[in-house]
Symmetry: C2
Subunit: 243 residues, 2 copies
């Protein structure tokens, strides 16, 4: 499977997707027809227009998945699928409602490139259990696309030194995840991404890199170019199979 | 119903529950037997011991809900219920599993004091849809106790000036909630609480106070002592009745 999973869509001071433009162009290869999945945000037309504008310089034609009564019918004509960021609970609810979980999985297995950013990157995991988003709607299941067998935490944020806020840090939240589940969690700092293809998985983007959390182990840091292919092996162990 | 809903359990530089001790003592009145619900955290015995220590100076005897095969059977003997903070998804999953949603609601309706902090405060709302926590487990439903007809966001955090982090601010998350639901959301800043009794609802705690978000309206600030009883009227409108 070919995947490009971005931690975030926009870097400070840059336009939408600009910080990852070269990587996106390379991952697209010859792909020219992209199906965009806009449901993480409320304004589907506006969001799709923004994405179309970002992909136009790459010679890629963008179709919004919301423009068809049966969105899965648009997958065959697409050689790339981009699932955009926003609220991951709203996004996952829509993927289930439109029957897109199995359909996207099948299309990507058949060769289409999967692009995700933020919530769209969460969707590539077995479940949405490591999202940062507010659960504004209740999806029928937390089960997601499972294009990779581990969990990703996008927008991974280190503890803020000297903060007096008593809410949990991101690392504490991931520790809570590991009290309940035995699945690796990769914290992707902003400006980083994962690229998969030919059975390999590599980290790209800014030097800050990513941090890998495994149950009962100390976190491990990785920098750009690090190979993480070992994460593609293994069966995730969640407390309940439904997600 | 008598409620005391804390944004957080611990203030910087203070011991557990210390910042709200006087208010807790006043709310308890003559209550001397407290049932503690520890499932938001993983170590139930340790968490219960910590709570017992905090309540001992108030002359209150604490029993952990996890110490009975059928936790609801412990409710009748309790004149106060305290639901502690931690992960709200784990907590809500346990409340459903142990049949405590209806049981706690009934006991509080019959006169027991409900104390909540953080995740325990979220549980007093119709659903957990305004929690900040990571969805580490999937509850059978997002529906919670509904002791109040509006939503609370505990640990409410103002946007950090100059932050370059591209994840959503708390206000943006609540805006997303209002794209999907028509229910007021009260952002309780740390160090604040809500007290309900005799049909009245008042804000207490530090001067920073709370901010009320209503769909399609500008947020409104409230300071300590503000009366919010109007929030006790009205029917919440969620996109799906299950929560």
């Amino acid at each position: 499977m070919r995947l490009l999973l971005l931690s975030n869509s926009t870097a400070p001071g840059h336009g939408y997707l600009d910080h990852a433009r070269a990587e996106i162009a390379d991952a697209l290869g010859g792909a020219r027809r992209l199906l965009f999945v806009p449901w993480a945000q409320a304004d589907h037309d506006g969001y799709t227009a923004r994405v179309a504008e970002a992909f136009a310089p790459l010679g890629v034609e963008v179709t919004g998945a919301h423009t068809a009564g049966r969105p899965a019918s648009l997958l065959d004509a697409a050689d790339a699928v981009f699932v955009g960021g926003g609220n991951s609970f709203r996004l996952l609810t829509a993927l289930h409602r439109h029957g897109l979980i199995d359909a996207i999985r099948a299309r990507v297995a058949a060769g289409a490139l999967y692009l995700g950013s933020s919530a769209g990157t969460n969707m590539a995991c077995p479940t949405l259990r490591t999202t940062n988003d507010m659960p504004i709607v209740q999806p029928p299941s937390f089960g997601a696309l499972g294009l990779v067998p581990f969990q990703i935490n996008p927008h991974y944020l280190d503890p803020v030194p000297g903060s007096t806020h008593m809410g949990e840090t991101r690392a504490q939240r991931i520790k809570e995840f590991h009290e309940e589940n035995d699945v690796p969690v990769l914290g992707l700092r902003e400006g980083t991404w994962l690229r998969a293809g030919d059975g390999r998985l590599t980290l790209g983007g800014v030097p800050a890199g990513a941090v890998l959390f495994r149950r009962g182990q100390e976190p491990v840091e990785y920098g750009p170019g690090a190979e993480l292919s070992e994460l593609l092996a293994g069966e995730p162990a969640f407390d309940s199979p439904q997600g």
